[in-house]
C-alpha cells in the first residue's frame, strides 16, 4: 500500500514535469507577433533621411528640377544598407509628379512600412509636395 502511494507520487511528479514542459514548448513554438517596433523604427529612419535631405532645401530643389536619379542616389547614401525603398512624390492636389520610379529594388512580397513627409521648396515661387517613402528590410 505504501509502495503504491509512492508510485502515484512519482507519476504525479512526472505529470507535473510533462505539463511544465508542454507549456514551455507551446510558448516557444507559438507564432511570434510581428516586430512592430522594428517596422516603426524603419519608418522613423526613412523620415529622418528625408529631413536630412531637406535640411538645406535640397529635396525641394531636386523635385523642382526633376532630378529623380539624384534623389535615389541621396537616399541610397542616407538609408542604411539592406533597406529597400520606393519614393513617390505628390503635388498639393495629390498627383504623382515623379515621372521615373525612385526605388532601389522591388518591394513586392516584402513587409513594407510607409513614411509620409510634407515638404516645401525654398524657391521664389514656393511649391509644396508630399513625399511617400515605402521601406522594407531586404529579405
Amino acid at each position: 500500500m505504501f509502495d503504491r502511494r509512492g508510485q502515484i507520487r512519482i507519476i504525479e511528479s512526472f505529470l507535473a514535469i510533462a505539463v511544465v514542459f508542454s507549456a514551455v514548448l507551446v510558448s516557444v513554438t507559438f507564432p511570434s507577433a510581428p516586430d512592430l517596433s522594428k517596422q516603426e523604427s524603419l519608418a522613423s529612419i526613412g523620415t529622418q533621411a528625408l529631413i536630412k535631405l531637406d535640411t538645406n532645401g535640397m529635396l525641394g530643389n531636386l523635385i523642382l528640377e526633376q532630378l529623380w536619379a539624384d534623389i535615389k542616389t541621396a537616399l541610397d547614401v542616407l538609408l542604411p544598407v539592406g533597406v529597400s525603398f520606393n519614393l513617390t512624390i505628390y503635388d498639393e492636389i495629390g498627383h504623382a509628379v515623379n515621372s521615373e520610379v525612385i526605388q532601389n529594388s522591388n518591394l513586392l512580397g516584402q513587409e513594407a512600412v510607409s513614411a509620409q513627409y510634407v515638404c516645401s521648396t525654398r524657391s521664389q515661387t514656393v511649391h509644396f509636395f508630399v513625399a511617400r517613402l515605402q521601406l522594407a528590410w531586404m529579405s
Binding site: A23, S37, T55, S123, T125
Partner: protein, 251 residues
C-alpha cells in the same frame, strides 16, 4: 481521502503553471508597450522637426521672393497654403498649424527690408508658429518662431592716384542669422554724376572672395568730385537679395 490529497497537489501545480503563464504574458505586453511608446515618441519628434523645417523653407522662399521685388503679402499667402496642407494630412493624428506674422516695427506683414545708406542692409522675415497635434497616442502643443535675416555690411576706402582717379576698395560682409554666409552673386556700383556705374576689367576690377562671408572688391575709377559713393547688391546662397550703400573714406 488519499485521492483528494493527490488531486490537490495537481491543482497547485496547474495553478502555478497558469500563474507563470499569465505573468510572462503580462511582462511581454509591458515590454512591447514600452518599445512602441519609445518609437512613437521618436516618430512624433520627426514629425515636429519636419513641420518646423518646412515652415523655415517657406519663410526663406517667401523672403527671396519679396526681396527680389515680389508682393509684400507673399509670406502670408505661402504660410496659409503651408498650414492648410499640414492640416489636410493625417500625420500621427490631426495637425493644426497656426502662424502670426510679426507686425511690430520695423516689421510689416512679417517682413523687414532696410537697404540703408550707412553701409548696412537687412532683408528679414519673422513669423511665430503654433503647432497642435491631436494624436492617437498623445496631444502635442509646440510653439516656435522662424526669423530669417540676411545682413549686408560694407565699408569702403579710397586712395587718390591722380587728380581725378582713385583706387576704391570695398569690404563686404554677408551674414545669415548673424553668422557669416556665402553670397551667390555680388555686384558693386559706384556713383559718378548721379549715375550708378558698375566697374569692369577696364577699371582693373578685382573681387576676392575669402569664403568666410567676407569679400573684397577693388577697382580704379575717375571721380569728378571729392565724394565717392559705392553700393553693393548681393544675393545670398538662399536667393535672398539685399543691398547697402556707403560713402567711401579717403585714406
Amino acid at each position: 481521502m488519499r485521492q483528494r490529497a493527490n488531486s490537490g497537489q495537481i491543482l497547485l501545480i496547474a495553478a502555478f503553471i497558469m500563474a507563470s503563464l499569465l505573468l510572462s504574458a503580462q511582462i511581454y505586453i509591458l515590454e512591447v508597450g514600452k518599445t512602441s511608446e519609445e518609437v512613437e515618441l521618436n516618430s512624433l519628434s520627426d514629425l515636429i522637426s519636419s513641420i518646423q523645417l518646412g515652415s523655415r523653407n517657406v519663410v526663406i522662399g517667401s523672403l527671396a521672393n519679396i526681396s527680389n521685388g515680389g508682393a509684400s503679402d507673399t509670406l502670408g499667402l505661402n504660410l496659409e497654403k503651408w498650414a492648410s496642407l499640414i492640416g489636410d494630412q493625417y500625420l500621427y493624428g490631426k495637425n493644426i498649424l497656426n502662424y502670426t506674422l510679426r507686425n511690430t516695427a520695423p516689421y510689416s506683414l512679417g517682413v523687414w527690408l532696410d537697404w540703408g545708406v550707412n553701409g548696412r542692409g537687412f532683408s528679414s522675415a519673422y513669423a511665430n508658429f503654433f503647432h497642435r497635434l491631436l494624436g492617437r497616442e498623445a496631444n502635442v502643443d509646440q510653439s516656435y518662431l522662424v526669423n530669417i535675416t540676411t545682413t549686408l555690411l560694407i565699408t569702403s576706402t579710397n586712395r587718390r592716384l591722380s587728380e581725378n582717379t582713385r583706387q576704391v576698395n570695398v569690404t563686404i560682409n554677408v551674414l545669415n542669422e548673424a553668422e557669416p554666409a556665402v553670397a551667390r552673386q555680388i555686384t558693386i556700383y559706384y556713383m559718378v554724376s548721379n549715375n550708378w556705374l558698375t566697374p569692369d576689367e577696364t577699371n582693373n576690377y578685382i573681387l576676392l572672395n575669402y569664403g568666410n562671408g567676407t569679400c573684397l572688391a577693388s577697382f580704379i575709377a575717375a571721380f569728378p568730385t571729392e565724394s565717392v559713393e559705392v553700393s553693393a547688391h548681393i544675393v545670398d546662397h538662399r536667393g535672398i537679395y539685399v543691398q547697402a550703400n556707403a560713402t567711401s573714406t579717403e585714406i
